[in-house]
């Protein structure tokens, strides 16, 4: 099921997308329309195989339209056009790219997707997944079975969230009020970039007030815990069993080996490696290898 997507695109952009030449004005296009309901700012297609005797007089008076056609129509009409050997297919490709969004109906029937969630195109959602109202998911992202995504969560394009993971659960944060533990409500969100991989049974907590941020190209293994308000820099890899506590910040291109634990608020510099089972209690400089309990600096990791 597809839904109409509002847009305003110049004819030259459409020609460039198709890799074809625009003839006529660089008109602005709002929507695709059929040849029986022509309006200005519309994209039309006229295929002379399907529609042999089209009366081009019907285009008169519409200056701002673009026609995909398989012949030169300069003598028949005054509007802008693009010549193609496949007007219908080009029209469909433009629709997919610029003017439609896929609705939730193409998704597994048992998935529970709030109608207010915004999904890009070509998204796969597995059985029993839950996607809440404040969630947006980019094109080509896969959400596997039983994944729960709740709270304010934005997930970019081309991501994979593997089965049983929980994205956007309440962060773990309590404060003593005399003898009683009082929960610090976690009302922030999560921003996940593009090409991010999150393994099975992993959890990403939403931030207390701001955002938990996972940058582009981050890969997270199975059974990983990402605490509230953390920031994981681009292209870093967090392997199985790792625990990233609240407010920690992992730099770019880091490698966090299995079962390592990064303490609250610790900053790990870019291009660093943290060894297996380490307990990282202090900040780690960039381009370094650290390991142990507590983790100690072992050597530099400068790549020649």
């Amino acid at each position: 099921m597809y839904l109409r997507q509002q847009n305003a695109v110049y004819a030259e952009e459409l020609a460039a997308f198709l890799g074809r030449r625009l003839i006529g004005e660089n008109v602005l296009i709002y929507e695709p329309r059929s040849i029986s309901a022509i309006q200005n700012n519309a994209l039309l297609f006229i295929d002379n195989v399907w529609c042999k005797n089209f009366n081009y007089g019907r285009l008169d008076g519409f200056e701002d339209i673009l026609v995909l056609t398989n012949e030169d129509i300069r003598k028949k009409a005054e509007c802008a056009f693009i010549i193609t050997d496949q007007p219908r297919l080009d029209f469909v490709n433009i629709l997919h790219r610029f003017f439609v969004k896929q609705s939730a109906a193409a998704i597994h029937s048992s998935a529970d997707i709030d109608p207010l969630a915004v999904l890009g195109k070509n998204i796969i959602v597995g059985p029993n997944a839950y996607i809440g109202p404040e969630v947006s998911i980019g094109d080509n992202t896969t959400i596997e079975a039983n994944v729960v995504i709740s709270g304010k969560v934005s997930i970019g394009k081309n991501c994979v969230i593997k089965a049983n993971s929980t994205i956007g659960s309440e962060g773990f944060s309590f404060i003593f009020d005399r003898q009683k533990l009082q929960h610090f409500p976690q009302i922030g969100g999560i921003v996940i970039g593009e090409n991010v991989w999150i393994g099975s049974n992993s959890t990403v907590e939403r931030a207390a007030l701001d955002d938990t941020i996972i940058e582009n190209d981050v890969k997270i293994d199975d059974l990983v815990q990402i605490g509230h308000n953390t920031r994981i820099g681009r292209s870093s890899q967090i392997t199985a069993g790792a625990i990233i506590c609240g407010r920690a910040s992992i730099g770019e291109r880091c490698w966090i080996a299995p079962n390592a634990c990064i303490d609250n608020g610790v900053i790990v510099g870019n291009d660093s490696v943290i060894g297996m089972g380490s307990a990282v209690l202090k900040d780690v400089p960039a381009e370094s290898v650290s390991a142990g309990v507590p983790a100690k600096f072992l050597r530099s990791n400068v790549k020649s």
């Binding site: 997507q5 509002q6 847009n7 305003a8 695109v9 110049y10 952009e13 004005e25 660089n26 008109v27 602005l28 969004k101 207010l116 915004v118 404040e134 947006s136 304010k152 934005s154 970019g156 922030g188 969100g189 921003v191 970039g193 931030a207 007030l209 701001d210 955002d211 941020i213 940058e215 582009n216």
Partner: protein, 365 residues
């Protein structure tokens, strides 16, 4: 703020404005206020083709400064002030205001890749200590909600130093139906980022019920809306019309910001009043007791150096139709955030380092 195709800035009404105009012609007559306000703003006037002064400019200010990042020259991005970067994702608009600042520019739109480069520039180490604000304008960014959403997402990821995103739009006035779920999603509240809409309403007659509803939807979505008007000859250049406008805006919770003097650009002479007329209107407006101090606009000229609000003592000299304005901009500061900036010929540096600039007035009251 749309642009030109093959050197022509086309006449363009949105279907909504066209319908309102037709309806008003029938029900209220050709000389009614609504007809005058809509036609005055969107109907192409033959006087646009006349070059009335050889000094008329084709750009509204001299921001023609190349900005590069990672060795790439960026399109659709300008930086005139230290803390703000201006981005134009598309030049597309639902209707063409005839005094458009960018009516002289060619049309263009930016790809997602280009928008990402701009976001990366905003968060880059050379500028991230200075840049706090991004103004998304165009064109009308609300015409392409997906592109806008992409840009704001990219800024959140690539430039956490940006705290405020302002979006300039007339979509609620031009085509209120476009304010729907997908657009509101692009403008959803985001953590750590304040979103504001800078809109452009010139006359209370434009505030049709549909328009008010569209603004309300944006406000209900958590957006703060402020208004910048342009003083347009024959459209809103009377005290009564301005009082009604600023009152009405206040009733619907839209803040008054600037009242611009219509700039000396080619094709706009017939829209311009003198600066003096504007100053008199503002004086009467603010001293009459007819509007609250909460909705007094700042009367401002867009000069070659940028905006200069016309407070007392700003005009320091007059030569025929040219006035010399004392700006608050320092020459050295300008070079600090853009070393490629060239001081326009109309400007000069004073002893204390501030710049003065000549501005073209109009005698056309």
């Amino acid at each position: 703020m749309a642009g030109q195709i093959k050197g022509i800035f086309k006449e363009k009404f949105s279907p909504f404005l066209r319908a309102k105009l037709e309806e008003a012609r029938k029900s209220e007559g050709e000389t009614s206020e609504i007809v005058r306000v809509i036609e005055g703003q969107y109907l192409k006037n033959p006087r646009e083709e006349m070059i009335e002064e050889t000094t008329e400019r084709r750009r509204h200010y001299e921001a023609d400064m190349p900005i590069t990042h990672n060795g790439r020259q960026l399109r659709g991005v300008e930086r005139l002030y230290r803390r703000v970067v201006l981005v134009e994702p598309t030049t597309a608009c639902a209707a063409h205001c005839r005094w458009c600042l960018r009516g002289q520019y060619p049309v263009m739109s930016l790809s997602e890749e280009e928008l990402r480069w701009i976001a990366q520039y905003c968060g880059g180490k050379e500028v991230r200590d200075d840049i706090r604000e991004v103004l998304i304008t165009g064109g009308d960014p609300l015409m392409a909600p997906d592109r806008l959403n992409f840009l704001i997402d990219a800024l959140q990821i690539e430039a956490p130093n940006v705290k405020i995103v302002r979006i300039g739009s007339r979509v609620p006035i031009h085509d209120p139906e476009r304010v729907e779920a997908n657009l509101l999603h692009a403008l959803r509240p985001r953590n750590g980022l304040r979103l504001e809409i800078g809109t452009h309403i010139n006359h209370s007659a434009e505030l049709f019920e549909e328009v008010r509803k569209a603004y309300r939807k944006l406000q209900d979505n958590g957006l703060r809306i402020y208004n910048q008007s342009v003083l347009l000859k024959g459209i809103n250049d009377t005290e009564k019309e301005l009082v009604t406008l600023f009152d009405e805006l206040r009733y619907i919770g839209i803040e008054t910001h600037y009242l611009f003097h219509c700039i000396p650009m080619r094709g706009m002479a017939h829209h311009r009043t003198s600066v003096k007329k504007g100053l008199n209107l503002i004086r009467n407006l603010t001293s009459s007791g007819d509007i609250s101090g909460r909705c007094k606009p700042m009367f401002t000229a867009m000069t070659d150096l940028g905006k200069i609000t016309l407070y007392d003592g700003i005009i320091i000299e007059r030569q025929n139709d040219n006035i010399l304005l004392n700006s608050g901009y320092k020459f050295d500061d300008r070079l600090k955030w853009n070393p490629l900036w060239k001081m326009p010929e109309s400007a000069s540096v004073t002893e204390d380092g501030y710049m003065n600039v000549w501005y073209r007035d109009s005698a056309n009251d």
